[in-house]
Point group: D2
Chain length 333, copies 4
């Protein structure tokens, strides 16, 4: 299985490094518009071929799968061409610019029986895998809320707002951990530049069951915070991604709602208990993602970070964007 990578920028470098050592596949070609990237590729992977034209990869019959790490607005075109050319596709996050684009790509991939996958790297971290297993084995109980803060003094992106830049990480984790699908979102935000691109944004995601999710995103905080709270009716999880090793804390903390006989009063039983900090596997997530792509292509299995995960994230981003532009109006997903 031969792989081509389109786009050799900051993240592309990580992809080249990981796909150079993945089992069961060979990195054959890497393209980037900047021809001077050739030397850098030589050092990272002397046997991979460099080209400044993406078409060299898309038209190469020996290439079975394509990894696309270009700016978001180009994802759809490159992925479509690759699928039409019969190649499996891995897209960087966010998967594309709109639900419409993603749906087209999904349809095409199904028709051509090709793998379409998105790189939600976070799903492959030891921390998220640990939370998934805790939720799956029932230890946390029914989830009641999901509250995420991802703020720092970050680069203002010229083409996407803070939502499209930061929230895909957290929304993909939400989508992976929680089975229930949202029915609506509310979002607010503000742009402190005159191009109208929001640098602060808040999203609330509503679910039928009463479960609620909230995201606080900012490029303009003096302190860096990467904090996620997940509250179940049995236990609660705090995921602090800035902790070097103690990332996940499981609190045996909760409350139970009781109603007295005539249902007039609410009685709440509080419980605080032990805390458990499981050892987390700290191996590189991107390596796990690369291996999952190759394995899914080879064996026809569904990857962890599959096309539906990509679609679900774009649905929420698109609805949130619409809500912000409509002054926080509820938008159905």
């Amino acid at each position: 299985m031969n792989i081509g990578i389109i786009g050799f920028g900051y993240w592309g470098t990580n992809l080249v490094r990981n796909f150079s050592s993945v089992k069961g596949a060979v990195l054959k070609k890497v393209s980037d518009l900047k021809a001077d990237k050739k030397a850098a590729l030589k050092i990272l992977n002397p046997s991979a071929e460099f080209t400044s034209s993406a078409d060299d990869i898309l038209n190469d019959k020996d290439i079975d799968a394509v990894v696309i790490a270009t700016p978001v607005f180009t994802h759809y075109e490159f992925a479509k061409k690759a699928l039409i050319a019969g190649k499996h596709v891995l897209l960087e996050k966010p998967m594309a610019s709109s639900v419409k684009e993603v749906n087209e790509l999904i349809e095409l991939s199904e028709k051509k029986k090709l793998l379409l996958m998105v790189d939600h790297t976070f799903l492959y971290t030891g921390a998220v895998q640990k939370m998934k297993s805790l939720l799956m084995n029932g230890e946390i109980g029914n989830i009641k809320y999901f509250d995420s803060t991802r703020i720092n003094l970050g680069l203002f992106q010229p083409d996407v707002n803070v939502l499209w830049d930061l929230a895909p990480h957290d929304i993909s984790i939400l989508d992976y951990l929680v089975k229930e699908k949202p029915y609506s979102v509310h979002a607010t935000g503000v742009s402190h530049t005159n191009n109208g691109i929001e640098n602060i944004a808040y999203i609330t995601i509503n679910f039928e069951s009463g479960f609620i999710a909230h995201f606080n995103c900012s490029w303009t905080s003096p302190v860096k915070i990467r904090l996620m709270l997940i509250g179940g009716d049995k236990k609660m999880i705090v995921f602090n991604d800035l902790e070097p090793t103690e990332k996940i804390k499981i609190y045996d903390t909760g409350y139970e709602i009781k109603t007295d006989e005539d249902r007039k009063k609410i009685l709440v039983d509080y419980r605080t208990g032990d805390i458990f900090i499981p050892k987390i596997d700290l191996k590189e997530a991107l390596s796990g993602m690369a291996n999952d792509f190759v394995k899914s292509v080879s064996e026809g299995t569904v990857p962890v970070s599959d096309k539906m995960s990509g679609l679900n994230v774009i649905k929420i981003l698109e609805a949130s964007q619409k809500s912000i532009k409509n002054k926080g109006k509820e938008i159905l997903v």
Copy 2:
């Protein structure tokens, strides 16, 4: 100047302790429906008289000023009676149950030329006073955002939701620190009990200038967080109220927006610099509040935590409540 306190519960105890040692006033009577509180008063202040009837205070011609620390829904009636009886009034937060009630009380107090004040204790803390002086002397610059998180495993209140319980603290600080008045709010929230009282709520407050404020309130977090970020265009403040002494950190951090000549690109200059942690006066805030009340009555001055502060907080709470019940719809303040 003689003072009467109506309501001798948890907070009333603190009020009795502080009004027992305030200069220029004497605590004459304390009332509570529970007659067995008499003994507790004896210990705290042996010379104050106990009564189980609020009317004993309201009808006492020797009492000049009344402090009301009863459940919120009774504030309006007690305050109205006290004002009609010619007494100055200090109300616990939140000031009353609705903007309508507060407006009536304000009108009445002005007509009777009596002081009407609310106890927003936080405004008297060394931390808030330090932030106020930093903002007043221009050190922070123009404020761009205000982001507050106040969450913990808290008591579910039977009559008010988490907004009315927790947000008054933060909204009163916002109102005190920032001159600009809001034009609208969006709020979302969820109740995990069957009485419909929200235990998680998020508010966004919108301002004409592009300044934005956001509040995250919860009774259902396994960890306690009391964190406020205030971003100016010169410096930014982080106020962590759980730090025993290092509550306020001032970051010489910021970004400056530049536009190139043809205004097509946004250029952002980032700056991270020194951090300063000023020594904070840790004296009890409630004592400052009690003294401010007595001084304002005696000297006819306007207290820090005045009736307009009370009104502004209720306006936002009422609008937020309405927004939650209307699925996050924007509500003008």
Copy 3:
């Protein structure tokens, strides 16, 4: 059972409060040289009698037990008189000024069949009780080291150095948790005043088995640290007393020494694993101590913080003091 308390200063206040509500005993009299303390006692315990003479207590035939909370150098005299007068005795920490004094008191108490106890309050905290049970049930394995840091900007005491002021807490915990008794100490320290009273001191305590204990004490640190590390060959404990609730962390971390066949190389197997933070009982330790005293007198049982605990602490303090004065020379305990 009637109790008298000699000494009504800062700590005496806490003792009066706790002995006022202890079961099975009545606080009859409290003495202090300062006659104006009478009013304060009236508030805390209206039925206890105040006296400015300790002899009023020591000579009162109705008093069965005496609590001594006076400066250290007076402990021996008061305790001796009380024991001779047939009263059970509880001494504040440190128990007395020298091993000789403590031994005399122990001998006297045994002869008179009276309880002699020292108030090592820390032993009654939920945190220390939790550590004791972890060590007793074998979860930590054989202890290899004990490392304690207790530093802050503290009051320079006029009569005792930083060792006698701060180390008794940690040494009493060491003595309680670890069965093995020390054979020698080394201590170094420095005085920054011209009275020669050390404000910084370091102690190493040596044990036959290779277990080692170390104490870092200072009145001159800009930051407050209360940190204890206890390393076993199975697990390790970190006790951070400044954490409001998460005081004890148990690390499933360790190393195993292996030697290869010809014993030339040392092979070490490292293990880092999960971390567990048990819920700690946060009830007031002093209340537990007061109850233990009354119970031990009534039932003739041995209290947790018994006279041998007091003796062991004084032995180490005395030896450490001698080591400091002899330039860090090893002193046998």
Copy 4:
């Protein structure tokens, strides 16, 4: 100026990377006993020559300066040969195995008028440079104590104990920041392996003026701590090297000793004030060290991390080792 590096292990890799980009010098040859390191060098620096014999470097007439990054016990021999061959020498820390060896090397370098330098990388960090400038400009006042903790679950070294492994960092910082030279040390420690190599060690360093330094080193802590407290009579510094950006905190905290007229009582005035966290230059320290070496050779200047720094560190390590082996006896430096 041509450079050769002897030893291409873990740290040698960092040296090769930094000497490959240093200005004013060319990395000509790198030697390592393991011939298979050739490929790794090819990637890092394709133009440098690989050899498996150190003599190829020592006998190369075109090489002006040699960097020695081999095990400590070999430092002396390699450095001596290099100096005799007329080459400038940079030694990894610790400089050599004994004071005797270091003194010989120093003498030889002076006779041959060659630069002899040691790589105390920490001195080139932004944090240490900031502390140096604070101390130089008098802001901290006279230093009273220096307290360092450097503990973690670390590799047990087969040939050197925890002192020789961890303490050189902290001792070199002490030597750099404080002008006064020590007159004696006390050290204690313990080995939990049967080879007698200590894995826990404590050093106290004594100075004539009453200044005291203490070092706590361990390979067997479940938590990683890198904390240094430096107390001056004006201000105090806390250096926490694990903080990603806020490494240095300057406390305007102190105490002033006063004596009353008849000098019987000690009066201490306490002061706690603001805290300042300066922005620290986070550029790679090793690059600064490499540039300092090349510049010092070229211009004949004295490097920050010069041979006397190396000597002073070895003096303390040797004396500490002797003290440990003599049961904590005071050893003059």
